[in-house]
Amino acid sequence: MSSDQTDKTQTETAAQEFPDAANHKRLKLEDCLSVFIMGVLALITFANVLVRYFSNQSFAWTEEISIFFLIILTMVGSSSAFVRYQHIRIEYFADHGSAAKKWWFSIASNASVLLFFVLFTVLSLKMALDDYTYGDTSPAIGVPNWWYSMWMPLLSLLITWRLAGIMQDLIKVRPT
């Protein structure tokens, strides 16, 4: 956002201003987890088809595990998608106009997202602590609920951390 490059096509987005190569190293944790979870989800679901085909049984507990992985996948993938600017947004107004305007728009939107995830970290921590205190157990497997919900504040913290990093990069490139 610092440079005043002429937009060759109208499709230039902030994404191109952050080299992806640097992100590959930076996002190793998210990327490894994403690949792993995606693979596990595919394997569990496929195993379910096979087991049902051969034994006319289906195991309900896999549903609970799959849902848990779905939540983890959403948060981990969202984290790297923030850094890579992959989230669905209206780019038109944010990426047109003077460098200063674009910079202020990015600062404002990133600050809003950052604040939201700070709050979300606190709230999901509270939810996990409540699960721990009241000792609720999960419907299908019967393990304590906090085994699942404790990952939400942790991953929300990871997202917050990444967003703070984006903010830091943005502040550095303030147009003069």
Binding site: L41, I67, Q86, R89, I90, S112
Partner: protein
């Protein structure tokens, strides 16, 4: 009062470029706080609870599986072989390559379920060969973007899965069956102006001199790709698989075809494919779950019914309201992708649809058609963005071509509105 703050905050956040999901989440959270100032933690515990509950739905698993399926088939080399087969069938001549692009995009629509992914797969194969054959790049980009828009109508479709999660009475198989006829109709309506434009402006003169691939060899090579939609749709129809399972079976089939048969996917590509699919799924699912917070805030404020009532009794009548909705959603479709539009607007539109006694499956197809039009209407069309990037042309240059295709697709929309049977006949015939 709180409701207007909810909407204004959301609109401002969207305009400054905040991700849709987070904009929904923030607006919902602020509304929850304002409505619960005197309760425990300001009612904020609803935020993580709705986030958790929003994702704790087993049918949502279909989304990462269909996204993964799309990523695999995009790289499996199926598209290039389908192009060969299609060229072998229709032959060479002015307008034939663009026609093949649309046909292949429609066919890939029967495997993957998202427009931009399809535009990328078809664009990568077709745009270069079309410009070599003498078609202007902006024209090629327009054709690919429009063809790929049929993707969200032709089953399987991620947009229709989302609609079904929002409207449980419209089942996924019923929606998939209902999208079939309008999707194919849309493809045909796009092919006609495409071929006419190519002939009228004498494009693709060099195409006649290109070799025509041998039919049987092309058929054998493409057969692995041709079998995929049969496996997915047939397996669901015969009751072998649920939609999610059909997707995962096709994922392993696609991996087999890509890694063993065509050898276009190497082991080291796997992590990239999986990572890309995981990230894209997360992007979709984040909007799904944060839209849940927004919808929850809306429902506790009980503003939906008064708004819906006001619209229903506004004196516009059934078709007036429908026309208004079409204009509104086509405009929104230029700015936003279909999934976000569904998540934001279906909860608002459902009471209206119910008040007029509209068939909810038909209504879903109408909404999807509107979104499909928006996907390639400049200036902010997602599919056109992808195909213009591949063709390396600015989006403005496509306007003189793409508007013809937009008009063709709007005609299909009009047809499905006028003759609801186009959408409702097949699911009824199949007994869904």
């Amino acid at each position: 009062m709180i409701a207007s703050i909810l909407f204004s905050l959301f609109i401002v956040l969207m305009l400054i470029g905040t991700p849709v999901g987070v904009a929904l989440g923030i607006a919902g959270t602020v509304a929850i706080v304002m409505a619960n100032m005197d309760t425990y933690w300001y009612g904020l515990m609803a935020v993580p609870q709705n986030f958790y509950a929003g994702l704790s739905k087993y049918p949502l698993l279909a989304i990462p599986m269909f996204v993964l399926l799309g990523s695999i088939f995009d790289r499996s080399g199926v598209a290039a072989r389908l192009v060969n087969l299609a060229v072998a069938i229709v032959g060479r001549g002015s307008g034939m390559l663009p026609m093949v692009s649309i046909m292949v995009a429609m066919f890939l629509g029967g495997i993957s379920g998202s427009g931009p992914a399809c535009a990328a797969a078809v664009g990568a194969v077709m745009i270069r060969s079309m410009s070599q054959a003498g078609y202007p790049r902006p024209f090629s980009a327009s054709v690919v973007a429009a063809g790929a828009a049929t993707d969200i109508l032709i089953p399987p479709s991620v947009a229709l899965i989302i609609y079904s999660i929002l409207v449980p009475s419209a089942s996924v198989p019923a929606l998939f069956a209902a999208g079939m006829v309008p999707g194919i109709l849309a493809g045909i309506c796009l092919i006609i102006p495409t071929v006419w434009l190519a002939r009228h402006y004498k494009m693709g003169a060099a195409e006649q001199d290109l070799p025509r691939p041998p039919f049987f060899k092309s058929l054998v090579q493409a057969s692995w790709g041709l079998a995929a939609p049969v496996l997915i749709l047939g397996g669901m129809r015969l009751g072998w698989f649920t939609p999610t399972e059909a997707a995962v079976v096709a994922v392993f089939y696609g991996l087999f075809v890509g890694m063993v048969v065509y050898r276009t996917i190497k082991i080291k590509d796997l992590s990239l494919i999986f990572r890309e699919a995981a990230e894209l799924s997360a992007v979709i699912l984040l909007v799904v779950t944060l839209a849940g917070i927004f919808a929850w805030a809306l429902s506790t404020l009980s503003v939906i019914d008064p708004i819906a009532n006001a619209i229903v009794h506004s004196g516009l009548g059934e078709y007036g309201v429908l026309a208004l909705l079409i204009v509104l959603l086509v405009i929104l479709g230029m700015f936003l992708d279909g999934i976000s539009i569904f998540l934001i607007f279906v909860p608002l539109l459902l009471p209206i649809a119910n008040a007029f006694n509209w068939d909810l499956v038909w209504f879903g197809i109408i909404l999807t058609l509107k979104v499909a039009v928006g996907q390639f209407t400049p200036p902010l069309a997602v599919n056109l963005m992808v195909s213009c990037r591949i063709a390396n042309v600015p989006m403005e240059s496509t306007i003189r071509w793409v508007l013809w295709l937009v008009a063709a697709m709007l005609l299909v929309l009009l047809l499905v509105v006028t003759f609801p049977g186009l959408a409702t006949w097949l699911p009824r015939y199949l007994g869904y």
